[in-house]
């Protein structure tokens, strides 16, 4: 019991040290700040947004307050149907986080497990899995997502599935090559001769060396997932009931916002996407410092 | 006669996160053609930094902060890059320790040797190729292998390529930085033999850098012992073996095996080199020296000329005889464990 408690304390201290190292980099710190801001937006959306994202704002006589420019009353103005853009941005953060995090998590799990199994066991298992990965690489991403959404219907979950089903290939490839190079290292041999079974070697010995790079690609996946979701929503393959920044841009485009000069509708969603995706790149810089010690000595 | 290479009071500083480090502190030596000089010391003592300073290959965060380097009567430490490039390879060449990586993987070895020739001499391709073939035969490399890529060679073969390349333009000075460290003993012997032969054939001088004194004995006539960036002892190789005057040199001699003489147990000098970040007073070796006295901790030792051409940086250089006798006993060193 005492031993287990010590192990937990040590693991916690390790984690804290790692996180400290990760976020020492100024860019990683900036990324973290951005993420925190958007997280607050997403979690407390109903409290922060003055209106619901679908709510049509009308004046005292019942007329829709469409195309209002940004002012003190409506921070980012309104859409063609009189909906608050700032509110939509805030609610859109929810979709972005949900899709981004869940898709990235699935990508990380599938990619890492497949990469570990393929790299460690080698032989025909590896061959089969590699053929599958080659196959997956040959499928065009966006078109496939479009087909899948058409077949399964447009909902956030289907988008997440569509993204995860293909995106894991990158993580898998990277994890596998890492496992291949680690497999031959002495510490694995030592563990094996000490009688450790395959599962133990994989999860206790190899995994700690794998999870940093797996995490790195997981963070990248968040950015890619958000960009893909935006693209799909823009094309019309998104979730009609939810509010997403891509959908905002689709509505703007379809309602001729460009020719009508409604810049306050076009810029904010894009800037929001840029900020979040950029923050994932910044945070990944911090992770790379942990993964790649060569970069650390500055 | 003017020396071929004269290094005078050279100081090299590295700029790091934690401040400045003086990696090389007032190092002086000279090489007179056709003699060879050995620069020995532990890892991190600064010997490679000296070589890089001579070759203008110091990294961006390092700089020469004092002293001078003169080659064939000309000052080269402050020479402009373009001018120095003209000296490179045809007057001063390098045999590096990382032969493993010193060859570019995407070019054949023949091409890389050709590159060094064509950069300096306007000779026809055919002439250059015949010279390259001669060189490769001389180092024991079959000429048809010149068309192969570096990754297709073993470590020993790559080292031969590097040696052949260093001789391509018949330079007056060859700097050999740990040329045999990465090789097995048999290969070491073969390569050393080649290096010794270089001298006989071409009258080039060799500046040999190594941490292994047994390796330099065959090749060099003079030896400079460095520790923590400073020169501890500088003399001829015979005097080094017979009358070393610095405790560190004595420790080194006890740490490496010799074929002749009585069989002795090897010792290792306990402790490790000092951290060069803080200010260190007195002799830099004092904490590991079995003969230290209180003065060693407080006052930096002067350069004592024990005999013509033989310098030792120790307060007690003139009492070296006593120390020498004591140093041959293992318990002298073992008692010193802090």
């Amino acid at each position: 019991m005492e031993e287990k408690k010590n192990a937990v304390i040590r693991a916690a201290a390790n984690l804290r040290a790692t996180l400290g190292l990760m976020f020492r980099h100024p860019l990683a710190k900036a990324g973290l700040v951005i993420v925190i801001v958007f997280t607050i937006m997403a979690v407390f959306a109903p409290l922060i947004a003055p209106y619901h994202h679908d709510e049509i704002i009308s004046d005292s006589s019942g007329r829709w307050l469409s195309y209002q420019r940004p002012a003190a009353k409506f921070w980012l103005g309104t859409t063609d149907m009189g909906r608050g853009i700032f509110s939509q941005i805030v609610y859109g953060a929810r979709t972005a986080f949900m899709v981004g995090l869940l898709a990235a998590l699935m990508v990380m799990v599938i990619g890492t497990v497949v990469g570990l199994v393929s790299g460690y066991f080698g032989g025909w298992i590896d061959q089969i899995i590699m053929r599958v990965v080659d196959f997956v690489y040959g499928i065009p991403f966006l078109p496939f997502a479009m087909v899948l959404v058409t077949v399964l219907g447009g909902s956030r979950w289907n988008i997440i599935i569509a993204i995860s089903v293909l995106l894991w290939r990158e993580t898998c490839r990277v994890v596998r090559s890492q496992v291949l190079s680690l497999k031959e290292r002495p510490f694995v041999e030592v563990a094996r001769s000490a009688g450790a079974g395959n599962l133990r070697i994989i999860f206790v010995h190899l995994a700690p060396n794998i999870y940093p790079i797996s995490l790195l690609y997981g963070v990248f996946a968040v950015g890619w997932a958000i960009l893909t979701e935006a693209g799909l929503s823009f094309l019309g393959f998104g979730d009609p009931s939810s509010c997403s920044w891509g959908k905002m841009l689709q509505e703007a485009y379809l309602s001729q916002a460009l020719s009508q000069g409604v810049w306050w509708w076009i810029f904010p969603p894009g800037i929001a996407i840029i900020l979040i995706v950029m923050s994932t790149y910044f945070i990944s810089q911090g992770i790379e410092e942990v993964v790649n010690p060569k970069l650390r000595s500055r | 006669m003017k020396p071929l290479l004269d290094v005078y009071n050279i100081k090299v500083d590295y700029k790091t996160e934690r401040g400045f480090v003086r990696a090389v502190d007032e190092v002086s030596f000279s090489i007179r053609s056709p003699q060879n000089l050995a620069l020995v010391g532990e890892s991190g003592c600064g010997k490679t930094t000296v070589a890089k300073a001579i070759l203008h290959l110091l990294p961006d965060n390092a700089s020469i902060s004092g002293g001078s380097i003169t080659f064939q009567g000309q000052r080269i430490d402050n020479m402009r890059e373009r001018e120095f490039d003209r000296l490179r390879w045809c007057q001063i060449s390098v045999i590096s320790q990382s032969a493993m990586n010193a060859l570019n993987p995407v070019y054949t070895v023949g091409d890389q040797i050709m590159e060094s020739i064509q950069a300096h001499e306007r000779i026809g391709k055919r002439e250059a190729q015949s010279r390259i073939r001669e060189l490769s035969e001389w180092v024991g490399l079959p000429p048809e292998r010149l068309r192969a890529y570096p990754h297709e060679f073993s470590g020993g073969m790559k080292q031969r390529v590097i040696i052949a390349m260093s001789l391509a333009l018949d330079p007056s000075l060859i700097i050999a930085d740990e040329p045999t460290t990465a090789l097995d003993v048999i290969m070491q012997d073969q390569i050393l033999e080649k290096i010794v032969n270089i001298q006989r054939q071409s009258l080039s001088s060799i500046l040999m850098i190594s941490h292994d004194i047994s390796v330099v004995t065959e090749v060099c006539q003079h030896i400079v012992v460095m520790y923590a960036g400073k020169v501890m002892e500088s003399c001829s190789i015979e005097e080094f073996y017979e009358i070393p005057c610095h405790p560190y040199s004595m420790g080194l001699l006890m740490a490496f095996p010799t074929l002749e003489g009585e069989v002795k147990r090897l010792i290792s000098i306990p402790g490790s080199p000092p951290n060069l970040f803080g200010a260190v007073s007195g002799c830099l070796f004092h904490d590991r020296c079995p003969f230290r006295r209180s003065i060693c901790e407080q006052i930096a030792p002067p350069d004592v000329e024990v005999s013509p051409g033989h310098i030792a940086k120790c307060h007690f250089a003139h009492q070296a005889n006593e120390f020498r006798l004591l140093s041959t006993r293992e318990d002298t060193w073992e008692a010193n464990v802090a």
């Binding site: 053929r131 080659d134 196959f135 690489y137 040959g138 499928i139 065009p140 991403f141 966006l142 078109p143 496939f144 087909v147 899948l148 058409t150 077949v151 935006a230 693209g231 823009f234 094309l235 019309g236 891509g246 841009l249 703007a252 485009y253 460009l258 000069g261 810049w263 076009i266 810029f267 969603p269 894009g270 996407i273 840029i274 995706v277 950029m278 790149y281 910044f282 | 290959l57 890059e81 120095f84 490039d85 003209r86 490179r88 390879w89 045809c90 390098v94 590096s96 990382s98 493993m100 990586n101 010193a102 060859l103 570019n104 993987p105 995407v106 590159e115 060094s116 950069a119 890529y149 990754h151």
Partner: protein, 325 residues
């Protein structure tokens, strides 16, 4: 000659993957909402056309027969008739494919060229503010959705400043003798600029960052120091030793990126109403023109496989170490 065998092996490999994808397409398109025969037959077709297609694709026969017929049709180049255009799907798709290529390939080439030069510059100016600014710029480019960049460009340069047209491949009503004639016309170029620059913005980020980091890594290598010690001159060191090895990953990235570029073009083509294969696919999916949708998907997949093959072989050719494995 090793690289040739390498290529051959990978080619053989790729054919298998392509077959796998064709099978996959067969099954997934069958899952589309609606009557499976609707994959090939539009109710608005002539009766004898319907009969012909029924026979060719075995639409009332069991699934395995359909699959066999599908494969043999693919081999014969028969991909069905478009509902919307009433022409063979293959012809429609190939027409549109050229429009995509004429936009995507210049965009990618220019992006990578600028990326290479820019990345080298950033590496050279290591530690300066220019480098930091350049890196942030590249990251912003990579974080911005490609269609949004298109929207912004459209807004500023077409609708506000009226310098460039608001979309489409050429002016309405303009007619040309053929594709080549159109491509060489000034009007075409005028329409090309905005979508081209938008695509470039998105794709430039990766080569910029990759070139910079690659050069910074290579410059530390021992053989670069050796090259310098040989006195061949700083310029030769940079070009012959540093760049030569540093561009390897960028070149491979280029080949793989072209594959992804076709997907990116889907979004750009929609924003600019550019009649390319991406836009065709979206419209045909939304309009249930399944023969066209299916064939576009096939073509895109084939191009991806081919570009991946090229990328692998190119890397094997450029880096002698790889082929030995």
């Amino acid at each position: 000659m090793n690289s040739l065998r390498f290529f051959g092996r990978r080619l053989f490999h790729s054919v298998f993957v392509l077959l796998g994808i064709l099978t996959f397409i067969f099954f997934i398109f069958r899952l589309m909402p609606g009557d499976p025969t609707a994959l090939f037959i539009s109710p608005e077709m002539a009766a004898d056309a319907i009969q012909e297609i029924r026979k060719a694709f075995g639409l009332d026969r069991p699934l395995y027969v359909q699959f066999f017929l599908y494969v043999s049709n693919v081999c014969r180049g028969n991909f069905g008739i478009s509902y919307y255009f009433f022409e063979p799907a293959s012809r429609i798709v190939f027409e549109h494919l050229w429009n995509t290529l004429v936009l995507t390939i210049p965009a990618m080439c220019l992006s990578y060229l600028i990326g290479l030069v820019g990345g080298t510059l950033l590496a050279w100016k290591r530690g300066t503010r220019l480098e930091l600014g350049g890196m942030v710029f590249a990251l912003v480019l990579r974080s911005a959705p490609v269609f949004w960049v298109g929207l912004i460009f459209l807004y500023i340069f077409a609708f506000k400043l009226h310098i460039f047209p608001g979309g489409s491949i050429t002016d309405t009503g303009a007619s040309y003798g053929g594709f080549i004639e159109m491509v060489l016309s000034w009007k075409f170029f005028h329409h090309l600029v905005l979508p081209l620059v938008s695509m470039m913005c998105y794709f430039m980020g990766l080569p910029l960052l990759l070139t910079r980091s690659s050069i910074l890594e290579v410059i530390k290598e021992d053989y670069v120091e050796m090259a310098r010690a040989k006195g061949i001159g700083e310029r030769s060191v940079m070009f012959r030793h540093v760049t030569r090895t540093a561009i390897l990953p960028v070149v491979t990235a280029f080949a793989t990126a072209i594959a992804y570029a076709f997907e990116g073009s889907v979004l750009i083509e929609m924003v600019f109403s550019w009649p390319g294969i991406g836009r065709l696919m979206v419209m045909s999916m939304l309009g249930n023109d399944y023969p066209v949708a299916q064939f576009s998907f096939m073509i895109l997949a084939a191009m991806m496989i081919f570009m991946n093959l090229l990328a692998d072989s190119l890397y094997g050719y450029l880096d002698p170490r790889v082929v030995v494995q």
